[in-house]
């Protein structure tokens, strides 16, 4: 794995790798080091091709160490699968089916047969960027974003699936709806999905 560590200010490092899988492996390794006490850091923020480490006392030393070290592949995931009940009833289901070149009910079948994992979070508390679909199912964002996407909307953009934790503007293609509560700050943990969580969508109904 080729690792590039870019300094960010004087207390952070942006560690860049060449794929989403490598970013997930690097993230798992950094969490392991923090858990065993060999890495002291305030924030570990995985993203598409990078992991940001913020709140470091000696970023230059860690940069040298990370670029010299071998990052092992992500360990087998021991965490349980979170199942999200979903109705494949989104207004963009037909558009997504057209992009994929399949019938609308096939979108639901393919999506529900996929095991996803949360690559990273962002956009809103509890919003996960889920990967797992093969590249041929990438879809563009909508040309015109919606001013209000309802909470629980299951949506696609680029290589990602996401679930809107609450109503907000959004440009992703809506394929379904879940009743699952993605974010509840009174719950422990507040976020149902966090980086590394495995996710399956379980269809309750197909409207097509």
């Amino acid at each position: 794995m080729s690792v590039r560590a870019l300094p960010v200010g004087d207390a952070a490092l942006l560690v860049e790798v060449s794929s989403g899988e490598e970013a997930q492996a690097l993230h798992a390794e950094l969490l392991r080091r923090r858990a065993e006490g060999s890495l002291s850091v305030r924030e570990i923020v995985p993203a598409a091709r990078t992991v940001l480490l913020d709140g470091l006392t000696d970023p230059a030393r860690l940069a040298a160490e990370l670029t010299a070290a071998d990052v092992p592949p992500a360990p087998p995931r021991a965490r349980a699968v979170v199942e999200l009940p979903v109705r494949y009833d989104g207004p963009d289901l037909a558009d997504v089916a057209a992009h994929w070149g399949v019938a609308p009910h096939e979108v639901a079948r393919i999506h529900a047969a996929t095991e996803f994992s949360v690559a990273f979070c962002g956009f809103a508390p509890g919003f996960g960027y889920l990967t797992g679909l093969p590249e041929r199912y990438d879809v563009p964002r909508r040309a015109t974003p919606r001013t209000a996407v309802p909470a629980g909307a299951v949506a696609l953009a680029g290589p990602y699936t996401g679930v809107y934790p609450r109503s907000s503007p959004g440009g992703w293609q809506l394929i379904g709806t879940t009743e699952a509560v993605l974010w509840d700050h009174a719950r422990v943990p507040a976020a149902l999905l966090s980086p590394g969580t495995r996710v399956k969508f379980v269809p309750t109904e197909v409207v097509a």
Binding site: P7, V8, D10, A47, T50, D54, C121, A124
Partner: protein, 289 residues
């Protein structure tokens, strides 16, 4: 409701509850939030005998008016402004006793943007993920103050302040922000990087708790295409497609897809919080030590 509470008589343009924020949750998409002018918030807490983590009020430009239900000690700092109790002028930047039922008026800032109101016992709204801060990006924490709202107060800790009045930096007439280039300065042309650290920008009216927006020379990119989303730090200078730098403040998004040309030193962000629209801004390149 106990009598340890404050009634909000006039909420002002934007008054929020702020403390040290909620760092440590960026990987869940949770911004850190917290007082934009941290030193000013820490000082008003010290002046009223609160611990540093007590929640204070952060006003925007035109202050607020409050009526405590029991006698409290308050201190107003940050942006200098007139402070009155039942119409009588009292100290700015020092502890002031406000009797039960009296009206505390925090006036319009004479300079700067954000005044801080520390109250003995601290604002005791329910914490969310360990913090009482209002986060305007994601809506966590208490809503901004509204007229007629009632804020619970904590019990004073009797950590009596050792100072009567304390010097505070004047709000900037010119904002000089020390920056370290990167991580994505290579996405810009060498001319753009030079312009960024040598030309003068101005604080834009569109600035808020999420970011200090600027107006000035647009920075041209050397690379086209999209940057995959990556983690963002406090003080990151992100350059959106219009080419005008935005300095990320406390309520900034935790990930973003526009390149970060440089990062402002954390110590300089409190001055950024007090720079009114139109203030000249210079980004001064400094080396990493």
């Amino acid at each position: 409701m106990t009598d340890r509470a404050l009634s909000v008589v006039r909420a002002g343009a934007l008054t929020t509850v702020q403390d040290l924020g909620r760092p440590g949750h960026a990987h869940l998409g949770v911004p850190r939030a917290g007082a934009l002018d941290g030193p000013a918030a820490a000082l008003v807490n010290r002046l009223v005998g609160n611990p540093p983590e007590a929640a204070v009020l952060e006003t925007t430009l035109n202050g607020c008016s409050l009526r405590p239900r029991s006698a409290v000690t308050v201190a107003v700092g940050g942006a200098p402004c007139p402070v009155r109790v039942d119409g009588r002028p009292v100290a700015w930047g020092g502890p002031v006793r406000v009797p039960a039922g009296a009206l505390l008026n925090v006036g319009t800032a004479r300079h700067g943007v954000r005044s801080y109101v520390g109250v003995s016992g601290g604002i005791a709204v329910e914490p969310v993920l360990g913090s009482r801060s209002t986060d305007l990006l994601s809506g966590l924490g208490p809503a901004p103050l509204t007229d007629g709202a009632v804020l619970p107060l904590g019990s004073p800790t009797h950590l009596h302040a050792r100072v009567d009045v304390a010097p505070q930096p004047a709000p900037p007439t010119e904002l000089v922000l020390r920056v370290m280039l990167g991580p994505r300065d290579d996405w810009f042309t060498p001319e753009a990087v030079r312009a960024f650290t040598s030309r003068t920008y101005r604080v834009s009216l569109a600035s808020n708790r999420i970011g200090l927006r600027t107006e000035g020379p647009a920075l041209d990119r050397a690379r086209r295409g999209e940057l995959p989303s990556e983690g963002m730090v406090l003080g990151a200078v992100q350059v959106p497609p219009d080419g005008r730098p935005v300095v990320f403040l406390a309520d900034h998004p935790t990930t973003g897809g526009y390149p970060v040309i440089a990062v402002v030193r954390t110590e300089d962000l409190s001055a950024a919080a007090q720079a009114v629209p139109g203030t000249p801004v210079r980004f001064l390149g400094v080396r990493r030590h």
